[in-house]
Symmetry: D2
Amino acid sequence: MTATPSQAEIAAFLAASFPQTKCRVESVSAGTATVRHPVGEAELRPGGTVSGPVLMTVADVALYVALLGQIGIMPLAVTTSLNINFLRKPSADRDILGVCRMKKIGQTLAVGEVDLFSEGELEPVAHAVGTYAIPRP
Amino acid sequence: MTATPSQAEIAAFLAASFPQTKCRVESVSAGTATVRHPVGEAELRPGGTVSGPVLMTVADVALYVALLGQIGIMPLAVTTSLNINFLRKPSADRDILGVCRMKKIGQTLAVGEVDLFSEGELEPVAHAVGTYAIPRP
Amino acid sequence: MTATPSQAEIAAFLAASFPQTKCRVESVSAGTATVRHPVGEAELRPGGTVSGPVLMTVADVALYVALLGQIGIMPLAVTTSLNINFLRKPSADRDILGVCRMKKIGQTLAVGEVDLFSEGELEPVAHAVGTYAIPRP
Amino acid sequence: MTATPSQAEIAAFLAASFPQTKCRVESVSAGTATVRHPVGEAELRPGGTVSGPVLMTVADVALYVALLGQIGIMPLAVTTSLNINFLRKPSADRDILGVCRMKKIGQTLAVGEVDLFSEGELEPVAHAVGTYAIPRP
């Protein structure tokens, strides 16, 4: 295991690894992370709801950040599965926050869960569980 | 149930419902659909692989198109869950094709599966199962 | 919605609905439940680990009990999906506890998550997310 | 990779590994398998439907058999996740058949899908996707 990276190190790595993402790291500690995705025209569907793929992106990034916060910067960790349930209609005018808690970080596999919120709401708009494969050293 | 919509009708509806999507409808018949997503700089991660959220988007759209091909244009059908397994590294220079087969279309719930391919490859890069809630008439 | 049933009412309903189950209701309140499954020869695989189907059963029952605790006794509620991740090897000599929290109880669909523990351990042996279809009144 | 085991070898291994299971191996070849579970009083719920845990068990065993058919007898392969969607009410008086096709067998992770049928029916009663961790040699 490498030393725990700082939030700035993870943010820099994220920007390099996912150059398209609008997600920003809000906080990260060992095995937990919160990320934020702005919501504007590009994220909305007619009727004023955040599109599903945006929520899936936030879940994926939150898992990745929480994992890196625990095991250190590891470019070759890859998502192997993601399961997401959409629970409530997101707000059209609030950022999406993804709050991740890792459930297990093993030698080859990590599992975490993410609650996704419209900022300021108490009940999640979606809930995801994802797994990551950790490369062998 | 409405009459089965044509591919052009579904494509028009998709463009209106998901104005951001780059997915195009390749084919659609009752309960099956194939959609295509171009792959360029915006879809790639460093190292030359298609990002996970792009694959999730293609899965979601393929399910939606296959469902509409069966039940007709229904704006209020919403994804309730998506489960995706990432199987192989996608090619950086091939479009992604999503091939959906619905497994069940009930009165309130529809379930389908999607194989995702780098165009021209025989083995899928990912496999997804999704559920849609169908609004009551 | 009916009045919240008592733990005894739910236990009686469970015994009638799942006559084979060894699960017992430990506690139930609105949207949460804990159930217990004894572990003996019938639950073990060679090597001394609790079999996966036992864990899946506990997850399914815990979800059902938490749902009934919220919406009242409703014989026609059925599981529509279950997603489980196996995290750690369960103990061969401890009961399995399933602790469920509902994430959403809508008009037609309910979603909950379950942590499964070997009794007395802090880290879960598995984690599940399930959905239930609620019949129309 | 070891030599492909025969159906009899897999059946013997299954009986030793899952001594409680009533599942029988109907057929197995590289990466595919069909297993059968008898349906009697012990599998039924009031109203005459096969219980969900029985279906989950069949899915788990079908995946295991298909995997062993490909990689050989490997006692330490363990299920890491299972995602199941329940599609239709099973018959009370027909065996359950689980038909598995592996989607990927990698060095450390295998993914497969299973259609579950009431024997003689064309449409599946459930569909599952599972992942197995393959121990390092």
